[in-house]
């Protein structure tokens, strides 16, 4: 019976730890960053029909087009591993014309999810807690 108890305890412990690990990964991976802004060419004309997506080594957000005024709004789930770098990519037809780290883009205004965060509306806080960011116009081309 002692052996039975040992097996029961070991298997029970494995189950509890296993489910615990899955739950914490889910909770950490659910932060969402909402990005919006406009895309223009170098002379400031709005560019409709550009395809934008946020990408990291771990995955890619659902791509969205800029509308008739060159405006876009997209949502990106933030990876639990903060060290994985996020990039904003813009495609003109099938050509990649822009890829820059998200943290290098200029913010027009931002509302972090964690308003009490000492970092405030900085990329560091936004990329760890999520939030809503309006980017300054992105100029494409020469």
């Amino acid at each position: 019976m002692n052996n039975h108890w040992r097996v029961v305890v070991r298997v029970g412990l494995a189950l509890v730890l296993g489910f615990g690990a899955i739950r914490s990964t889910d909770a950490a991976g659910m932060q969402v960053l909402t990005l919006s802004g406009t895309v223009t060419n170098s002379s400031g004309q709005s560019l409709p029909g550009c395809l934008l997506s946020v990408v990291s080594e771990l995955g890619r957000s659902a791509p969205v087009f800029t509308d008739g005024k060159g405006s876009f709004s997209l949502e990106a789930s933030l990876p639990p591993d903060a060290s994985s770098k996020l990039f904003l990519e813009i495609y003109w037809n099938r050509t990649l014309v822009f890829r820059q780290p998200l943290a290098s883009l200029a913010i027009a205004s931002a509302t972090p999810n964690n308003r009490g965060s000492p970092q405030g509306a900085t990329w560091q806080g936004l990329l760890s807690d999520g939030g809503t960011v309006v980017l300054q116009p992105i100029k494409l081309g020469k």
């Binding site: 052996n3 039975h4 004309q45 395809l51 037809n93 822009f98």
Partner: protein, 183 residues
């Protein structure tokens, strides 16, 4: 799994092999060989004298079945774009995270989960305002579905200046990033 733990705790199943229990005189020897599990599918024969292992195999079988049902089926949603410049356009399958590129004849396709009832296709090319086309895959009778783009109106009717790619705006990356179009 929890059920098997309870049964193990109650002593209704054991970690002992059946033949050991027979030797101990705890189980009647019925002459059937004392297998806890015996499955024969064609040439494949699986036998176990350990009731817990048999129960585990049954649980694995149930888990595999659940996975098969949970995976869900996928269906191909295809279309044809009736536009002379069809191959320049990109088709975004909103909500299912897919992107498709029409070929020279304007045909494109993308797999979507079968339980998706509405797919909104957004079709655009650089400098043109995207156009949306809702599609109900289960109601479509003929594939590929024909899509005709409306003539542009409003501000985007004026063609945007040509975009000259500035290579300096495309940052190099150390590791490969996931492609835009699912492989």
């Amino acid at each position: 799994m929890i059920g098997s733990l309870v049964l193990l705790y109650q002593g209704r199943i054991t970690l002992q092999a059946i033949h050991e229990k027979v030797q101990e005189g705890k189980e009647p020897a019925d002459g059937t060989g004392g297998d806890a599990l015996a499955v024969e599918i064609g040439q494949i024969k699986i036998k176990s004298q350990y009731p817990t292992i048999a129960l585990f195999l049954v649980a694995v079988g149930c888990f595999w079945l659940a996975l098969q049902y949970g995976k869900g089926q996928r269906r191909m949603v295809s279309g044809i774009l009736t536009d002379p410049d069809a191959k320049d356009y990109t088709v975004a399958y909103t909500g299912v995270m897919g992107v498709a590129y029409p070929d020279n004849t304007g045909q494109f396709e993308q797999e979507v989960p079968e339980d998706v009832h509405l797919v909104v296709l957004e079709i655009a090319k650089g400098g043109k305002e995207p156009q949306k086309f809702p599609l109900y895959p289960s109601k479509e009778k003929e594939w590929p579905v024909k899509f005709e783009l409306k003539a542009p109106t409003g501000p985007s009717a004026t063609p945007a200046a040509k975009l000259e790619v500035n290579p300096a705006q495309v940052a190099e990356v150390g590791k490969a990033l996931p492609p835009l179009k699912a492989q």
